[in-house]
């Protein structure tokens, strides 16, 4: 942490960057918040470490149009989201100075984060410099990230239906999942657009909950890097990552392995095709009905 802080102060002082997006401590020990630092004195409060779970890529959208460069501290998995935003031309690479910060898996007051248990590795997709230590390189995924999806696929349709009704019926439509998602970068969401005919603010019936979550998962399909923020922020503890991972799994199986936010290819599985693709009916021939 000290090295990142020191380097950020240097870059602020020599004018390379005009501001830093990092973390600051809260009232307790584990309630860190993303924060903005505009000069060396403010950097006093900068922290980086075990409780820096939030994905700061989303904040880049906020600073893309502002004057000068912004320094942003990204963990390896966050850089995938950053790359995806670059692919979608939502942010300008020139406007950001990316410090890749080593990560040993993040925590909150309840312990290790769920998203870190399916760690996608320690490689940085995008960076201007990496500040890392050896220990951070060692940890690996604790579980197969598709395990939850596979378990659901094994259930019968009715069991799956009951499972999702149980989970989604808790949704209060607070939109935290949407607003935190780096792939949900629309200036005006379809669910906020009165002309769309689907604008609705409350989970008035089961259908509203289903539709919101299906469409949200669908709209980020192929662009979702599986950063896991949606499940982390859900105040109702809905396992939203299981929806996104289902799409990822399907696309990997049907259209070849693909990880959003990796590499130079801007085409996602849903914005490309081959003439030999499977027919939609294939989904009814797999798994349990």
């Amino acid at each position: 942490m000290a090295r990142i802080k020191q380097r950020a102060i240097e870059l602020l002082s020599d004018g390379t960057v005009m501001r830093v997006i990092g973390w600051e401590k809260g009232e307790g020990n584990c309630d860190w918040s993303p924060a903005l630092f505009e000069n060396a004195a403010e950097m006093e409060n900068f922290v980086y470490g075990d409780y820096a779970g939030a994905n700061l890529s989303k904040y880049c959208l906020k600073f893309n149009r502002q004057e000068g460069k912004t320094l942003v501290v990204l963990k390896p998995c966050d850089t995938l989201s950053f790359r995806q935003l670059l692919h979608e031309h939502r942010i300008d690479r020139e406007k950001f100075y990316v410090i890749g910060a080593g990560c040993k898996g993040m925590k909150d007051e309840k312990g290790g984060l769920l998203k870190c248990s399916a760690c996608k590795g320690k490689e940085f997709e995008v960076y201007d410099e990496i500040i890392d230590d050896e220990e951070a390189q060692k940890t690996t995924a604790l579980m197969d990230r598709m395990a939850g999806v596979i378990e659901l696929e094994k259930m019968t349709a009715q069991e799956r239906f009951d499972f999702w009704r149980g989970e989604l019926s808790r949704c209060i439509r607070c939109n935290a999942c949407r607003n935190v998602c780096p792939a949900c970068s629309c200036i005006k969401c379809v669910f906020d657009n009165p002309a769309s005919g689907v604008q609705s603010k409350a989970p008035v019936t089961d259908f509203e909950e289903n539709m919101f979550h299906i469409i949200r998962a669908y709209h980020v399909a192929g662009r979702c890097t599986d950063c896991g923020e949606c499940s982390r922020v859900c105040p109702q503890n809905i396992p939203l990552h299981l929806l996104n991972r289902k799409f990822i799994k399907d696309m990997n199986e049907l259209y070849g392995d693909y990880q959003a936010g990796v590499g130079e290819n801007e085409r996602t599985p849903l914005t490309s095709y081959t003439k030999e693709d499977a027919e939609p009916g294939i989904v009814y021939e797999r798994g349990n009905a």
Binding site: P34, A54, K58, N175, V180, K201, V204
Partner: protein, 340 residues
Amino acid sequence: MMRQFPANQVKKIIESIPCAVYAPVEDGAMVVFERYQDGMELRLDKICTDKTPKDILFPQWENLMHFRVEGKTIELSEQQRCEEDYVLFGVRACDIQAFKVLDRVFLSDPVDTYYAARREHGTIVALACGDPKETCFCKNFGVDPAQPDADVVLWLAGDDYYCEAYTDKGRALMSTWETRDAEEGVVEWVKGEIAKKYDALPFAKLNLKGFDGDHLMEKFNSPKWKKLSMACLGCGSCTFACPTCQCYDIRDYDTGNGIQRYRCWDSCMYSDFTLMAHGTNRPTQVERYRQRFMHKLVYFPSRNEGMYSCVGCGRCIEKCPMNLNIVKVIKALGEGENND
């Protein structure tokens, strides 16, 4: 008069109540107020339910009326108001204070009849708090966790609940319970213990000096809002978790055989909250974030004889995905030695 009954009888007592009872029960990994039914896991020990009991009085959505449109004519039928008596069981002091805040809004002239009907038909059984959470700071807002203001109040001491009714409604309800005369002095002792625990909490003594109508412009114009709001995602978690947030939206839904006009919770954190045909007057998250806290700490007390519309339940502290909360705002903008 103070009575007592064994704590393990509480389920029986709830089941004996003839009308609907809403009580904190387990739902998945969460504890929420729901209509109690046999076999539900009662969780009276949970100090701040994950969802507030406000949605019993002011549901997340409710139908207001129904229209039938045919050619140029419209036919209107009103939604029935609540007509069924119910008991709200095990509400904590902070949530009861929140009801009073809601009353100020909905029962002030002109009265909101949908809310008023629900309020009238409910009997509230409160439960004094025992062990606080670290995030509790209700005492700052004049809430006494040991003495909620309700129809009936329960205190847990040892293996017994002590109870006392304060209103006719409460006395009528309690008279049907199987209780015995209470041992003297126990509740007083319990209250003392509660006070001690709450005074030792980290946020027990926030300095609220300066949060009033007289300092409106000063607080509004503070340059600190920009940094405070930076991490805010503009989601509505805090507003939906908050027991006093009462902003709502009225929307129409075309069911194919008529138009249903319903009301649903809304949040000042949303970008379209104040959006009009010509644009919005709160264009960035800075203004929206400021609005929420200014409303709770400055505008509301200025209109309501100093009553804050925060009750210190600490739910927003738990729910905010980015760990922003009202305590940070109070500390950053407040005056005095406690705040830096």
